[in-house]
């Protein structure tokens, strides 16, 4: 390679890797802010900021959903299989919301340690299957459980 081209190649590599390192360090420094939500473990440990709106993500605990018969109020437990947080929400839940489903809720912790959600989003996992397969797995008790690490990075 002639020296001129070699020099230009070095400049190009310098741009790519220089920008890569700069952005990588910035991302590393900001990594907590880039996370969309806090896990129940982070909230219980006090890593999540208090008295401000945050997002919390986790699985809806089995048999924990309680609906108020007179209003749209719903109370349920949210877990990452390590810690639990109780969530209260008034409004319409997404279609995918059910027990064992991953969700992301936006809201604030109140004084009694209950997460007051103003918005609940369903988090879909990467697994897809036809309804017949899901039925068969359910009957055999082999339905794959979503993994906890999805909510704890």
């Amino acid at each position: 390679m002639n020296p001129k081209r070699k020099q230009r190649l070095i400049i190009v590599l310098f741009i790519v890797f220089g920008v890569g390192i700069a952005v990588g360090l910035t991302m590393f420094a900001l990594s907590q802010n880039i996370n969309l939500f806090y896990s129940p473990t982070q909230i219980v440990k006090g890593e999540a900021p208090e008295n401000t709106r945050i997002r919390a993500g986790g699985m809806v605990v089995e048999n924990s959903v309680q609906r108020d018969p007179n209003s749209l109020k719903v109370t349920f437990g949210m877990t990452d299989y390590a810690e639990n947080v109780t969530v209260e929400f008034t409004g319409i839940l997404p279609d995918l919301f059910r027990e064992g489903q991953g969700i992301v809720a936006q809201g604030m912790m109140d004084e009694s340690g209950v997460f007051q959600a103003s918005e609940v989003l369903a988090k879909h996992d990467e697994n897809y299957m036809p309804p017949e397969v899901a039925d068969a797995l359910e009957k055999a008790g082999k339905m794959p459980k979503p993994e906890a690490e999805v909510f704890n990075k």
């Binding site: 190649l9 969309l36 993500g57 918005e119 609940v120 988090k123 879909h124 897809y128």
Partner: protein, 228 residues
């Protein structure tokens, strides 16, 4: 190039038509999302292609910078609008899917935001290309912009693994078994290959156009037109 083009066009049409019919009519529905999951057959191929196209654009730009190859510049210039279209398609189909599934059109999570940045990078490359009169200077400037933006590609890919995001991890990877049964992923694979072939066809056509446009005063172009 001229001989390959019709073959690629035929393969593209065959793959896209058979893939879309298979995906919409014959693939089973999902146990949670029902039929709305079928948007994956457009969303995933367009998202993959948007990223591959960006890498191609950046590499072509680098070749143009280092070896001063004009064809590389033209390929880089021609691929930007295709990539921008694909990125926009991925974002729009994702939003349409997100509303019924997540309950929201848009969330500022790492995957969605980095994909939006990819679209803006494409738009920036297109704008820069048309803002600079001199072809050589425009090619240099856009190549540098494309190379700077290259850092976004691994961020898009690994955003769902590095951070907590609402977007799910990849269903389809090169190294692992897909997280869906064969009757669902085979049509998806057909669509992905179909999208790549479509990209090849449109890139060839656009590059050809670009060459003709740049050489419009050359004698061989005039002879070509007069022959027809």
């Amino acid at each position: 190039m001229g001989k390959l083009l019709p073959w690629f066009a035929i393969v593209t049409a065959a793959l896209l038509v058979s893939g879309i019919v298979w995906a919409l009519a014959f693939a089973p529905s999902d146990y949670q999302q029902g039929n709305s999951f079928r948007i994956i057959y457009i969303h995933v191929p367009s998202a993959i292609l948007a990223q591959s196209c960006y890498m191609l654009m950046a590499i072509a730009g680098a070749i143009g910078l280092i070896w001063k190859m004009k064809v590389a510049d033209m390929v880089a210039k021609s691929s930007a609008p295709i990539g921008a279209t694909m990125a926009l398609l991925a974002l729009v189909t994702g939003a349409i899917w997100g509303k019924p599934t997540w309950g929201s059109w848009w969330v500022w999570d790492a995957r969605l935001t980095s994909m939006l940045i990819l679209l803006f990078l494409y738009l920036g490359v297109i704008a820069l290309n048309s803002a600079i009169e001199s072809e050589a200077t425009a090619a240099q400037a856009t190549a540098v912009l494309a190379l700077v933006g290259l850092v976004n590609i691994p961020i898009i890919k690994y955003s769902v693994e590095w951070w907590n995001t609402l977007h799910q991890p990849a269903t389809f990877t090169l190294t692992e078994r897909p997280a869906m049964p064969a009757e669902m992923w085979v049509p998806l694979l057909v669509m992905v290959i179909g999208f790549y072939c479509f990209f090849a066809v449109s890139l060839m056509l656009r590059t050809r156009n670009e060459i003709l446009h740049r050489e419009r005063r050359a004698r061989w172009v005039r002879e070509l037109i007069e022959k027809q």
